[in-house]
Subunit: 272 residues, 2 copies
């Protein structure tokens, strides 16, 4: 596959079911400050976590088409559930390079673990999909993977309760079973969770390494762009572009919590 | 309007964005054990709380048509957000009687309060809609209404953490501002919240009366059916019918928590 017709100045397309993917955008911005971003948050249909595979594939293909129409050079699926269910379908549907959030996180976990006992936390959808387990075992079948759904973490993040006593209790409740399994590495398998990283760090054994998928995705984006000679060298001057499928969601308000790029332009996309 | 062509043996149609409306079904069943129920849970598009008014009207009209096609005699909108945004539109779109969850709760609150200081808790969508404030002020403009969004309550209920220490802390966090306003009546303005009724009762001042909209809706259903001579006298033999828009949602599992009617039949409705 050759992507030589693409202009390196084109932006990167990033999508998520809502706002969580902004933690990935933040890491891409930190590592690759020249790159432009077109972000799509499916705020009208959030959350994906409790929807079926076929529904999530439909949504992901629709968003992929939209990002292609915006002239992006690479697509990042910055949503664990969409990656788990729709990565293969999106790869088939586009000629652009596609990066999901699961493989980079799995690779980092396999790299960091010494005990070969890895914990994964995520939404019910991500945990039930066993996406991390499969990705980790593909890299090394000796690894033991212990998963835990943590449905309260997303609303806690969206409430901004990063230091609330209830947050500590909830973190302990979800992570105690994983500590009991003597994990030494914990994958934050949901793009909202990096905002709870400090809180989780305070509550779990200090011997446990936290893997933030956003950081790992940014490294993958860099290497894929390098490989295809698509890294942007010119300095970015245009703002990031944000699209959502419902304006009612507190995207701007929450967005400030997720990253520091100004939210001048949030545009509604109407599907019908 | 005459409804004399309708058979009193027809079931009642109830809809919600997901599973919460089952607390209303439970109260209808308790008060009117003869009545059949056709329930629609929009599990493929849950939650409604962060969606815009026009989106919620579209969804509600689509579900109303579906319930009409199932031959129901009355429609209950067992979702506070859908009631807040779409009650008028649904009433216009159907010749059947329609009951929402807001007015019965507002009426009960006005009836119970002595201090004329009423608290309302609900989702962000319900609180922002000011539906309870408007409904209460329509009944009595002297009332002072204090509202508080409680986004963590729905996931706490769906986790089944009714007696968890974190639940107590979260309840106190949300309700302290309302206690400080010296409310004597608190409307549980979300159909999930009746499952937290005991927990809330333990945490708030004993002088505060809790209003469970489900109970109040059931009373309204009874009086509307009586008025139209549509109360069923024959004993119900058929099971309740449950329809959902996505099967992946833990409807059966959560449903057990919400009520005791067996969940033999949960059917997927595919819109397209």
């Amino acid at each position: 596959m050759t992507l030589s017709h693409l202009n390196p100045d084109l932006p990167i397309g990033v999508f998520d079911s809502g706002i969580g993917g902004l933690t990935v955008v933040k890491e891409i911005k930190r590592l690759l400050p020249n790159e432009g971003i077109v972000y799509f948050g499916d705020t009208g249909r959030v959350p994906y976590g409790n929807k079926s595979k076929s529904t999530i594939i439909d949504y992901s293909l629709q968003i992929t088409k939209f990002l292609e129409s915006q002239g992006v050079k690479l697509i990042v699926i910055a949503c664990n559930t969409a990656t788990a269910h729709a990565l293969d379908a999106v790869k088939k549907a586009t000629h652009l390079p596609v990066i999901g959030v699961v493989d980079p996180g799995a690779k980092a976990a396999v790299h960091y673990t010494k005990s070969k006992r890895i914990g994964v936390i995520g939404t019910v959808g991500t945990v039930n999909s066993k996406a991390y387990e499969k990705a980790i075992h593909k890299l090394n079948s000796d690894m033991l993977v212990f998963s835990q759904a943590a449905p309260l973490f997303v609303p806690l993040v969206e409430e901004g309760w990063f230091t609330h006593p209830a947050t500590s209790l909830i973190i302990r409740e979800y992570l105690k079973p994983l500590e009991n399994e003597r994990i030494d590495t914990l994958v934050l398998g949901c793009t909202h969770y990096p905002l709870l990283k400090s809180a989780i760090d305070r509550e779990v054994f200090s011997s446990i390494t936290l893997v933030d998928s956003g950081e790992e995705v940014a490294k993958d984006v860099k290497s894929v762009l390098e490989k295809h000679k698509l890294l942007r060298v010119s300095k970015r001057t245009e703002p990031f572009q944000y699209f959502v499928s419902d304006l009612n969601f507190r995207f701007k308000e929450l967005g400030k919590m997720f990253m520091d790029e100004p939210f001048d332009k949030v545009t509604l996309v109407e599907w019908q």
